[in-house]
């Protein structure tokens, strides 16, 4: 492994030297006196004395202050172009200056030689921006950006380098001549561009090394202890390690421009030349402008890609949740949705655990290991979902299969026997499609710096990501969370329906018991009458001496059968005595509300409102299940009545309760339906109607049986304003009973 830790501690801002293609003069802001200088003043300015302690105008032939005032130089700004000068025997030089801490740092460097007019350069910039603007994807925009920069700067290879979440970097686009190798899809570890460099690159947006084999020119004139901050100097000398790396790559010149997105360093446009390449000020500015536009474009594209991804995830999630919601047992359906789950969040394997059954698809470890992962994920699940790209650091047992599974994203829904979905990713290295070392051989590197090569960088990077997978993006984490919430809602809803179905079932079973006892009771009346008449007949026959013996015989048989019927009724009553009433003190409001949950099913769909006017403190002596049956029956009757005749105007079903005399509580259910036809009124409770719907209704006759068994009474009334009102009484119960 390359030990570039030294790199982190390197003082890159205060190198104390410059690249010698230009000249650096550190001036006192007030007097223009040169405090320190670096570079070859003789060659560049034809000035053959020691520049230190001289005035700027002595060297440059122009007073600095005038130039500075014209250009508007002030402290804390970035370097300003002040103008150009043409010394006697030399090339034209650009003057750049910036002011820091009472000093003016002046850099003189060769101007653009083959100088196109400003208009032509601008035109190139404009067409470059236009070309980037039309691109719709990140890769295309970056590739175009690289091409544009290469056409401006003249380097042989221009790469767009993106920083990953852990500061490692990836080359995502490239423009190059045939002569050089490709670095596309190459990865560099975070250590290749150490933190202090990344910090500097946010402040200082462009760095150029015109000739990698330069000899640094030291800064002379400042006291030894003082380190000059040269962060904003274009001529700043760079780290020797960096130089060595370039040389090992066979690169003779370089340039890098910062890509800033959202005030942070998103990546770099990195340029390599196989020959020295000076990039003068105007060209640098043009490149900065292009890259600034590219940065904005990247920001927009990333945002729109994220939103497109979010939409895609949302629609896939709708599909998943939709099929789950429609099923009776979503756990079972979920186990068959493995393919869809793998599409939902990119992964190489998925595990679903539900009802204690594990199913999996794609690349997953063995069953036992899958269970291990599920258990671990469940134990570490908080909201948000459990996510790691480095499972072996959390769960050592997984080291055994790190190649297959390094990244895990898991959601867990429910507490006992939870539903779990785990998305798995393999080790990063498995996913890389890097073709191999891009640089040509030939540069014999000495033993010490053989390690500073792209190949070893890549290997270093591989080591840093060993046992790790690609990170889960924020969008993917959010998608997992939303899916989890969606599944939880379905779970709750299905549980609720199951409970409701159970309640209905129990209610029916108990209704059957009540029905049986009510049938038995109803039979009492006709049987009693039959018994009486049989008794009467036998007396009549007994008193008549001329009675036909056959008639007596027939009568005897009738008598036997009616006695038999009576016995059956008594027997039946004993059979269902288990479902006889359990009287206890119950809160009326509670009874009404639980009855409503079943009795008022479908209320909203029918457009009917309900009104409950029951005080909280009313209690009655009642068997709760039976009284609820009465309430449900009355409510259902009212709903049907309202639904059968569409009355204009508001349809309301009202349930009220109040105390009445003699310590009874009267409960009433009224509706705004068509009311009770007079013809039916007398027969309402006495005829034993089997209810029309096969559902919850148990018939008014049984209602009467139940109410009267409770010691109360039930009656029906027409409402003057239209509708029907059913009311029944129950004994009031003491507060605690």
């Amino acid at each position: 492994m390359v030990d570039l830790e030294g790199c982190e501690r390197e003082p890159i801002r205060v190198p104390g030297a410059i690249q010698p293609h230009g000249l650096l003069l550190v001036l006192d802001a007030g007097s223009e006196r040169v405090l320190a200088a670096a570079g070859d003043a003789a060659a560049l300015l034809d000035f053959h004395e020691d520049p230190v302690d001289r005035l700027f105008s002595d060297l440059a032939g122009a007073p600095l202050l005038d130039l500075a005032r014209e250009a508007g130089l002030s402290a804390g700004q970035e370097p300003l172009f002040l103008g150009s000068i043409l010394p006697h025997h030399g090339v034209e030089l650009d003057i750049l200056a910036h002011e820091r801490a009472g000093r003016v740092m002046v850099e003189l460097e060769p101007s653009l030689q083959d100088r196109p007019s400003a208009a032509r350069l601008l035109a190139k910039v404009r067409s470059g921006v236009a070309a980037i603007k039309t691109k719709q994807t990140l890769e295309a925009a970056c590739e175009t950006g690289a091409e544009v920069i290469r056409s401006l700067s003249g380097h042989d290879r221009v790469m767009v380098y993106q920083f990953m979440p852990d500061s490692a970097g990836k080359v995502i686009a490239e423009s190059r001549t045939e002569a050089v190798g490709s670095f596309l899809n190459h990865y560099f570890p975070a250590s290749d561009i150490p933190p202090q460099a990344r910090e500097l690159y946010v402040q200082n947006l462009i760095r150029v090394i015109p000739d990698v084999s330069y000899l640094p020119a030291p800064l002379v004139g400042l006291p030894a202890a003082e380190l000059l901050d040269m962060s904003d100097c274009a001529l700043r000398s760079v780290s020797p390690l960096h130089i060595q790396y370039m040389e090992n790559m066979g690169v003779a010149s370089s340039m890098s421009v910062s890509i800033i997105v959202g005030d942070a360093l998103w990546g770099l446009v990195a340029c390599h030349g196989t020959a020295p390449n000076l990039v003068p000020y105007e060209m640098r500015e043009a490149c900065k402008h292009i890259v600034a536009f590219l940065s904005q474009k990247i920001e927009t594209l990333v945002a729109s890609e994220q939103s497109a991804e979010a939409n895609l995830l949302a629609s896939r999630r709708e599909g998943l949740l939709g099929s789950l919601a429609r099923s009776e047992s979503f756990e079972m359906v979920l186990r068959r949705q493995l393919h869809e789950l793998m599409q939902y969040i990119p992964c190489t394997g998925v595990i679903v655990s539900s009802d204690g059954i594990l199913t999996a698809a794609g690349t997953v470890p063995n069953l036992h290991q899958c269970r291990e992962l599920c258990t671990f994920a469940r134990d570490h699940d908080n909201s948000p979902p459990f996510a790691t790209h480095d499972i072996s650091s959390l769960m050592p047992a997984s080291k055994a299969y790190t190649g297959l599974v390094s990244g895990v994203l898991a959601i867990t829904v429910g507490a006992e026997l939870p539903v779990q979905i785990l998305w798995l990713r393999p080790e990063y290295a498995e996913t890389i499609q890097w073709a191999g070392p891009p640089h040509k051989s030939g540069t014999a590197a000495s033993a010490g710096n053989a390690l500073l090569t792209p190949r070893s960088s890549f290997e270093t990077w591989l080591e840093t990501v060993g046992g790790r997978s690609e990170h889960w993006s924020l969008a993917q984490l959010a998608a997992a969370q939303r899916l989890r919430d969606g599944i939880e809602r379905i779970q709750v809803r299905q549980r609720l329906s199951r409970l409701q179905a159970e309640v209905i079932h129990i209610s029916r079973v108990s209704a059957m018991g009540t029905m049986a006892s009510a049938i038995a009771h109803e039979l009492n009346q006709p049987l009693t009458i039959v018994h009486n008449y049989v008794g009467a007949l036998s007396r009549m026959l007994g008193q008549n001496e001329n009675a036909d013996p056959e008639v007596s015989d027939v009568l005897r048989r009738i008598s036997e059968q009616s006695l038999r019927a009576g016995a059956i009724v008594r027997h039946l009553r004993q059979l269902v005595s288990g479902s006889s009433m359990t009287l206890a003190s119950h809160n009326v409001r509670d009874l009404v509300e639980s009855a409503c949950s079943l009795g008022l099913l479908g209320l909203a769909q029918l457009g009917i409102q309900s009104a409950i006017r029951v005080a909280d403190d009313l209690r009655v002596l009642a068997d709760p299940v039976q009284i609820q049956q009465v309430l449900i029956n009355l409510m259902k009757n009212s709903l049907e009545a309202i639904a059968s005749t569409p009355n204009p105007g508001p349809q309301i079903l009202t349930i009220e309760a109040q105390r009445v005399r003699n310590n009874f509580v009267e409960i009433s259910v009224s509706d705004t339906g068509p009311g009770i036809p007079e013809a039916v009124q007398n027969r309402l409770f006495s005829a034993f109607n089997s209810s029309k719907d096969a559902g919850l209704g148990i018939g008014l006759s049984i209602c009467r049986t139940i109410v009267e068994a409770h010691g109360g009474s039930i009656r029906a009334e027409a409402v003057p304003a239209g509708g029907a009102n059913f009311r029944f009484t129950l004994q009031e119960a003491p507060e605690h009973g």
């Binding site: 009492n524 009693t528 009486n532 008449y533 008794g535 009467a536 019927a565």
Partner: protein
Amino acid sequence: MADPIVHIVDDEPDICLSTALVLRLSGLTCATWSSGVTFLEEADIHAWGCAIIDVRMPGIDGFATLKALRERGSQLSVIMASGHGDLSGRSDGQNASATDFITKPYDVERLVARVRELLAKP
């Protein structure tokens, strides 16, 4: 002395008719009432006799009728007729003042015998 009267109090007409018929054929004098109210208002509740009162009636039910009867000082023997399994479940002690209980459907012969017993006492 007039014959003792067996009062049959039941809201269902057929019960009244059929019970009265079989009792008359057994030589008893009957009077039928379709509600506790009319029974209390119009019957001679102080004369010697017996009443068979249906427990379950709309308006004023069997037990309320019994209670009113006793409150008015009637000494009639009262047989409460019920369709329910257990009358003794009533927690308010109202069954205390009844003389006897029968459960529908009742054995006619036993009813006749019991009524005769109750009417025999002076």
